[in-house]
Amino acid sequence: MISFDRVVKRYPNGREALAGVTLEIAAGEMVVLTGRSGAGKSTLLKLIALLERPTRGRAIVNGVNLSDLPAKRIPAFRRGVGMVFQDHKLLPNNDVFDNVALPLVVTDTSLREIDKRVRAALDQVGLLGKERQLPEELSVGEQQRVGIARAIVGRPPLLIADEPTGNLDPELAVEMMTLFRRLNSVGVTVLLATHDLHLVRESGLREVVLEGGTVHDHTVGALPTIKGVR
């Protein structure tokens, strides 16, 4: 699913965010990416979503070599990667339905199909019935779930999330992790970037630590049983 081989990312100002990252994440895995601020977590996610191009090395995501993908094929590639952001990136003037529908609206999906899939995605994140509410009328946790519904509505095989629990209180953070694990249990590959080490250690998920632009990969124990998941 994700295969990085000695991937380097150097910005035009000379700063090297990734200094030869080698990483393999198989389809169906759920992996947590940790590291201090500035360790390169966001850069790694940006490379995976093709918001940045690698400077050197081989990076393959969903079978696509990121270094030589033509610009005109980037939109189609991105539809295969669901993205969840710490600040949700919801459109404030669009209601919940329209926010979630956006990845389908940009394709030629029929209106009937959009309606069906948006409701299914909202059902998965427990927000069915709030379609016509604006983001500002929702709690922070609900806004995050709208962001997740938008990321999964196009049924991408890969879901990446940058600090998805960063703005949430501990209870909501656990709820969000449960949601990601539920999505993973139906076959979606999930990669979460977080600095919440407590949450990671409790989850028992495979942890990839980024330090100084390189990877220290290790798995933390066996996965604990979560009701209805694994």
Partner: protein
């Protein structure tokens, strides 16, 4: 196909809604664009009307043929009949030497002085008016040459210099019209481009999120193109109204002026087909301005990525 059409309709409705939500800003932008479109249209209308007016006045082009002093009145009458028989000639008036002298005596106030002349020095004159279809410069010149070749004719004068000057001025105006049109078209593109650029700035987050979820540049550009198109359509229609209103307000004054010169000329306003042309030109320029602004912005986003 149905989904594609639905997407376009959605973009059109969304763009219309955005314009309607900011009526003052929309009205100001449309007004500026309309004025820019109305200027060349006004000039075009002026050129057309002047061309038409000088076309009407071409009926007043005449050639004056002065016969040689030795040509008698009977021969002059015969020449007048021969001239009338020529194709392209509408009217021939013979002014005999006697008639000319009588008129001169009446108008000049030199009655007593003329009495001392031993004989009438004035020649017989033919005033030749060509038909309107033969009143162009080349036909009139041909007629002049033909008459001048007759041995009985001393001199043929063509009274059309002033029309030639107006025709030359109209040619210059045509060239100026094209230059002004090009400059103002660029101004319309710049106005729409700047307006769309501001709208893009206001919707920057929406654009970025749309691209993040896999929206193509064409998809992102679409509502802005419709915005430019709508601006142009409205500006074209308003420009037509401005020119039509201006012509309407000038019509009676111009009619009076024309009548003072013995012409039935009536100022013609822009027709309905010109409304179509103006709206189409406005829409095309609006679309182009929006395309340039949106594409430039998207290129910058893509470069940053």
């Amino acid at each position: 196909m149905g989904s594609w059409l639905a997407r376009h309709l959605h973009a059109l409705v969304s763009s219309t809604g955005n314009l309607a939500r900011a009526p003052l800003a929309t009205a100001l932008t449309v007004a500026v664009m309309a004025l820019a479109l109305a200027l060349p249209q006004s000039l075009l209308t002026l050129v057309r009307n002047t061309t038409s007016a000088t076309g009407n006045l071409s009926g007043t082009i005449t050639l004056t043929a002065y016969l040689k002093p030795e040509v008698g009145e009977q021969k002059a009458d015969q020449l007048a009949r021969s001239t009338r028989a020529r194709s392209g000639v509408a009217r021939v008036e013979l002014i005999t030497a006697t008639q000319a002298m009588t008129e001169f005596r009446r108008n000049s106030g030199l009655g007593a002085a003329l009495d001392v002349l031993p004989e009438n020095p004035l020649p017989h004159v033919l005033i030749v008016t060509p038909v309107p279809s033969a009143s162009d410069r080349a036909s009139v010149e041909n007629l002049r040459t033909a008459l001048a070749a007759w041995p009985e004719i001393e001199l043929v004068q063509l009274d059309s210099d002033w029309i030639n000057r107006i025709t030359a001025i109209l040619s210059v105006l045509h060239a100026v019209l094209w230059m002004i049109t090009a400059l103002l078209a660029a101004a319309v593109i710049a106005v729409v481009g700047n307006t769309v650029r501001l709208e893009i700035q206001a919707r920057r987050t929406e654009i970025e999120v749309t691209k993040l979820v896999g929206g193509t540049n064409a998809f992102v550009r679409r509502p802005f193109l419709y915005t430019g198109l709508l601006y142009g359509l409205m500006a074209g229609a308003l420009a037509w109204l401005i020119v039509a209103a201006a012509i309407l307000s000038l019509r009676s004054a111009v009619r009076e002026l024309a009548q003072a010169y013995g012409s039935q000329f009536v100022l013609a306003g822009p027709g309905l087909h010109e409304l179509g042309w103006l709206a189409a030109a406005g829409a095309l320029l609006g679309w182009l301005g929006a395309w340039l602004a949106a594409s430039g912005h998207l290129a910058r986003i893509d470069r940053n990525n």
